[in-house]
Amino acid sequence: MQLENSFTVPVPIDEAWRVLLDIERIAPCMPGAALDSVDGDDFTGRVKVKLGPINLTYQGKASFIEKDEAAHRAVIDARGKDQRGNGTAAAVVTATLAAAGSSTRVDVLTDLNITGRPAQFGRGVMTDVGNKLLGQFADKLAAQLGEGDAQGDADRAAAAPAGPSGPAATAAATVTGAVEEVATSAEQAAGNGAGGQAVKKVAAGTKKAAAAATDKISATTEPDADTPAKKAAAKKTAAAKTAPVKAVPPLPEKTEESAPAATEGAPATIDTTQSAAEIAVAAMEANQAAAGTAPAASGPPKAPSGPPGGTTAPPPRPATGAPVRSVPSAGPRVITPPQQEPEPIDLLEVAGGAAMARYAAPAAGIAWALLILLLIIRRSRTH
């Protein structure tokens, strides 16, 4: 099965190309995906698929099989196996970049092949599901690229100097980075619903505050590179505390609540993680409220997709109560679409087949009894 997706990102082609090849940055864009290891052009990971009652986890590896810098074309080959033995999934993803003025058009062609029971399930919906997934992936990737490298670089800048001054700084940077990202996704998801503009404003405010906090943290950390972590953390708090006041002009309620929450939490890793999660929830709630019936487009925020190197990176599911789940929309539900012409499994037929199996044993018993009876009758006749 072939799936085609295209999107445009507002960055020059060379920047877009650089991000596209950074697997650690693009992997979190795939709904339900997690990276296990990266080794040059090869990487391993898992993709969790959830569709109603169906739960599959594909585990496997992927690699860049082509990186054509001149043509700006990258090909990724991925294959995985369901953990419970429900078949395999394989995909060849070809991404081609084309310059369009100061922005870049990305064409993603996915050749997907699913074997085993999932391919048969569900009367052709797997195509829909596959397209939806890729759509989400493209949206998130577009968001990543569009945010520009500015944010990625800021994250990296924050993470790099923070290294020597202890985990607290890194964590703080990670968290604010994550908050920023969440805010961005909320901003993008806000759409054009009735309250969309308001939410956009709030999200933008939160993002600004978070970015400011990230910057402050890295700024504070740099000069203190060799002082103990504690001192750095303390300074950071001060810096972070002032950040929102300056960065956030009077904004609607939610921002005022959420932005300081993030920055105040900066020194204590766990607290920060939680407040980040809270903000994620708040942002998504605001977003949902605005979006009304329209499901949030960008899917649940992945709070912890901050920069690499965070020694105390927030847990995949923040402790505050599963904000990831709290979005009724496009969760990391499904990942894997199907084969060309799947033979649909009719669940009713399956149930019927089971009934036949149930009667097979008694039927065989009756047949045996009849046979023996016949033999006895024949014998009694011959005698």
Binding site: P53, I54, R84, R117, G124, V125, T127
Partner: protein, 284 residues
């Protein structure tokens, strides 16, 4: 064909059920009638850690009157829906659609709430719930909330039910004097709808005062044919007016293509079935 091992809880009240779901671990599944969950478990496409069986929760069964609505317990079986006098009087469309659900055995086990919570786009009752403006009462550990049908169905097999929540009741506004019909198209008697249309019209002196049309299996969720409804409001109750309005049935739909039907065929079916359903509902 044998499901993976799982823990089993059989609570007898909603509160116990919520507790059981909350303490069941990572992957908890709620068992209502089991007509979809059990086959999926037997195929090992689902291997929940805990199954919480609601069959003994008596408060979730039955239909009652409450003001200008009827309240249907989520665990009311399809066959109970079929024989209920309140539904026959105030929401006959639901009974007409339920009659087409699978076969007698499935209707005896399968439940109204289970079918809604499973949210299969090819299932018959979600489209009716949408057309009739049903409200879903959802219970969680922190209390109850009500979600209108239009917001309940989120995506393919996905509803507004959050982790740890249960669908407990469905409220349907009382509607008397409406003409209703459920027109289903499938090839095997007990199969899912390839496309189906739920229609309800209120006539006033030879004119259609109000019309409601729900579409089954025309997208990842059940849909309202709003174009048809708008075209019918105030129109004469004639075959021509209905045929003209039914042409709008496929507007804005994106049905899937599969072995049963291609998307364009489904869209064609939607217009034809809408015309038939409305004609029957208007008594022409």
């Amino acid at each position: 064909m044998i499901p993976a091992p799982f823990a089993y809880a059989r609570p007898s009240t909603v509160d116990e059920a919520l507790q059981a779901v909350a303490s069941g671990g990572e992957d908890v599944k709620v068992l209502a009638g089991g007509q979809s969950l059990i086959p999926v478990m037997r195929l090992r496409l689902a291997a929940p850690e805990t199954v919480v069986d609601l069959t003994r929760v008596a408060e979730l069964r039955g239909v009652r009157e409450e003001g200008d609505a009827i309240v249907i317990g989520a665990m009311t079986t399809h066959s109970d829906v079929l024989s209920d006098p309140l539904i026959a009087r105030y929401a006959p469309l639901l009974a007409q659609a339920t009659e087409t659900v699978a076969d007698r055995q499935v209707r005896h086990r399968g439940t109204f709430g289970g079918a809604l919570a499973h949210a299969d786009p090819a299932a018959d009752v979600p489209g009716v719930a949408l057309a009739l403006d049903a409200e879903m009462v959802i219970a969680g550990l922190s209390g109850r909330r009500t979600v209108p049908a239009a917001e309940f169905f989120v995506d393919y097999l996905t509803t507004a039910l959050e982790e740890g929540e249960l669908l407990v009741e469905i409220r349907l506004p009382k509607r008397e004097g409406w003409g209703t019909h459920y027109e289903k198209f499938n090839r095997v008697a007990q199969a899912w709808s390839i496309v189906a249309v739920a229609a309800a019209v209120r006539l006033e002196g030879g004119r259609i005062a109000e019309a409601r049309v729900g579409l089954t299996n025309m997208g990842p969720t059940p849909l309202r044919a709003t174009g048809v409804e708008a075209a019918l409001t105030g129109a004469d109750a004639t075959a021509e007016a209905i045929a003209a309005a039914a042409e709008h049935a496929a507007e804005g739909t994106s049905p899937s293509s599969d072995l049963n039907a291609q998307a364009d065929y489904r869209q064609h079916l939607a217009t034809v079935l809408t015309r038939r359903a409305l004609t029957a509902a208007a008594g022409l």
